[in-house]
Amino acid sequence: MEYSIFDIIGPVMIGPSSSHTAGAAKIGYIAREIFGKNVNHVRFTLHGSFAKTYLGHGTDKALLSGVMGFLPDDERLRNAYQIAEQKGIKYKFDSKDLGEVHPNTVKINMSSDDNHEMTVIGSSVGGGKVKIIRINDFDVDFNGEYTTLITKHLDRPGVMASITSILAKNRVNIAFMKLYRHAKGDYARLVLESDEKIDNCVIEDIKNMDYVDDVTKIDKLVL
C-alpha cells in the first residue's frame, strides 16, 4: 500500500475511532452528497461491529452528522442529536445482518421534504477510509477520495463515448471508471473518478444528453 504523509499524520477527526467515528461520518456525508437534497427523514441499519459497538464509539452521532453535511472533523458531531432535533430531522437506528459485507457497514435510507428517497450502503474499511458499495439497487465501489461522477442512464451505444468526450473537451482526466447495468438495454450506472474538479456546467452538459436520466457529482473530500 502507498501512504501519504497525511495518512500517517492525520486525518484530523473527532474521536474516538477512525473507523467507527471518522469513517462513519464520512459515509453519512457522502450518502447525503449522492442524494443531493436535504435529508428530513433517515433510517440507519447497522451491521456487524457497527451494530455491536456504535454506542461507545459515537457511530450513531457520526452518521447523523454526516447526513446533515458535517465533515468528520466538525465539532458539532458530538451534539448531532440536538442539532437534528432543532432542524426537525427524523432519524432511527436499527441493527440487522446485511450479509457478506465488511464488519463496519451501514445502510442509509434517506428521504426529503419533496418525497424523494434513496438508499446508500457504505463500509468503513479502516483508518477513516470508506467504500460506498451500493446506491439504491446498484452495486458500486468508490471511496470519495477523487471527484466522483455518478450517472443514471439507459444502456445505449455511444452514451459512454459522449460522456468521456465532454470530459476530455473540458480537460478532465479520468482516474478510474466503472459501469454497472442490470441487463442489456436497461438502466445503467457509471461511476467515474477524476483527478480534476468538474465544473457544474460540465455536469449540465452531461445531464442534457440523450438517454441520461440523472447525474450526481461528489467533490473530492478534503480532510
Partner: protein, 296 residues
C-alpha cells in the same frame, strides 16, 4: 525520491546531504499535487490541533472530558508533578500528562489528529510538545519533527502495518513511539541514522504488544499505553543520543514486527476477545456499558 525502507531513506539523506524531514516533504510534493509550502502548512495546522487537544484535556471541566472508563487522569498527573512529587522527572511526567490529555479529548468526541491512528493519537503530540518546551525549540523545528515521524510511519506502514486489527497494539502504539523517537533525535540535531536507530529501539521495546480494548472501546488500556509509548520514545531517543546502538537494524525490526502481528491470534487484534478485555473486570465493564456480555 521514493523510498521503500529505512536503508533507501538513509541513502537519499546521505546522497543529498539532507535530513529525513527534507526527504519527507520533497517526496510528498512529488507524489501529490501540493507544493512544499502547502504540505508544510497542513503539518503546521495539524501541530496547532495537537496543541489545542493537549490544552483542552488539561484545562477544561472534567465533566466534558470523560469517556466510559477514563477521564481526569491528565489533570491528576499534572498536579502530581507540579507538587514536585515526580519519580520520572518533570519532562517525562509532563509528556505523559499530555498523552493522557489527548486521549481524554479523543474519547470525549473532541478533535484530534490521528497519528498514526486515533487509538495512538497521544504519543507524537505529547513527545514533540514536551521536548519543544524542555529545549525551547521553535515551531519550525517541531513541524519538521512531525515530518520526520511521518517518514518513519510510512516505512512501517509499507513493510509491516499500522492498525491494531492487523498487528495488535505494537502496530499502533509501537509505531507511534518509533515515529516520535525519530522526531526527537532530528529535532535535537541528531543524524538520520541516529533517528532510525531510536525508532528501532522504540519498536523493539513494544514488540508483541497485544490490542485488547475493554468493551471494544478506545479507552482502556489505550490511554495508558499512549503513556508508555510516550516514555518509550523518550527513553529510546535518550539512549541513541548517548551513542547507544540498536543491536538489530531498523528495517529488520520493522519486518519482524509485521511478522509478529500476523502470528498474533485474532482474539488479540482489536476484537476485544482476549487479554484484559476478557478479564472478569473487563467483562463486567462491557456488560455495564453495552448491557450484555457478547463474548462467549
Amino acid at each position: 525520491m521514493n523510498y521503500k525502507n529505512g536503508k533507501e531513506l538513509l541513502a537519499i539523506c546521505r546522497e543529498k546531504n539532507i535530513a529525513i524531514y527534507d526527504v519527507a516533504i520533497l517526496n510528498e510534493s512529488v507524489n501529490s499535487s501540493l507544493t512544499e509550502e502547502e504540505i508544510y502548512n497542513v503539518m503546521k495546522d495539524s501541530l496547532d490541533i495537537m496543541k489545542s487537544s493537549i490544552k483542552k484535556g488539561l484545562d477544561e471541566n472534567e465533566k466534558n472530558i470523560i469517556g466510559f472508563m477514563i477521564g481526569g487522569e491528565a489533570k491528576k498527573l499534572k498536579k502530581f508533578y507540579e507538587n514536585n512529587k515526580s519519580i520520572c522527572g518533570k519532562t517525562m511526567s509532563k509528556a505523559i500528562s499530555y498523552a493522557l490529555s489527548v486521549m481524554e479529548v479523543n474519547v470525549s468526541m473532541g478533535r484530534i489528529v490521528a497519528c498514526p491512528t486515533a487509538g495512538s493519537c497521544g504519543v507524537v503530540p505529547a513527545v514533540l510538545l514536551a521536548v519543544m518546551e524542555k529545549f525551547n525549540l521553535d515551531e519550525d523545528t517541531v513541524v519538521k519533527g512531525l515530518l520526520t515521524s511521518s517518514a518513519v510511519g510510512i516505512i512501517i506502514g509499507k513493510n509491516a502495518c499500522l492498525s491494531g486489527a492487523e498487528g495488535g497494539c505494537q502496530a499502533e502504539i509501537g509505531s507511534a513511539s518509533a515515529m516520535a523517537a525519530a522526531a526527537i533525535v532530528e529535532m535535537l540535531g541528531g543524524t538520520p541514522e541516529q533517528a532510525l536507530n531510536a525508532s528501532a529501539i522504540a519498536l523493539k521495546n513494544l514488540m508483541g504488544l497485544v490490542c485488547d480494548p475493554v468493551a471494544g472501546l478506545v479507552e482502556a488500556p489505550c490511554a495508558k499505553r499512549n503513556a508508555i509509548g510516550t516514555s518509550n520514545a523518550m527513553i529510546s531517543a535518550e539512549m541513541t543520543l548517548a551513542g547507544i546502538k540498536s543491536v538489530i537494524p531498523f528495517d529488520e525490526v520493522v519486518v519482524a514486527m509485521g511478522k509478529v502481528g500476523k502470528m498474533l491470534p485474532v482474539n488479540l487484534r482489536e476484537t476485544a476477545e482476549g487479554g484484559i478485555a476478557t478479564t472478569p473486570t473487563g467483562r463486567k465493564l462491557r456488560k455495564k456499558i453495552f448491557g450484555e456480555d457478547k463474548i462467549q
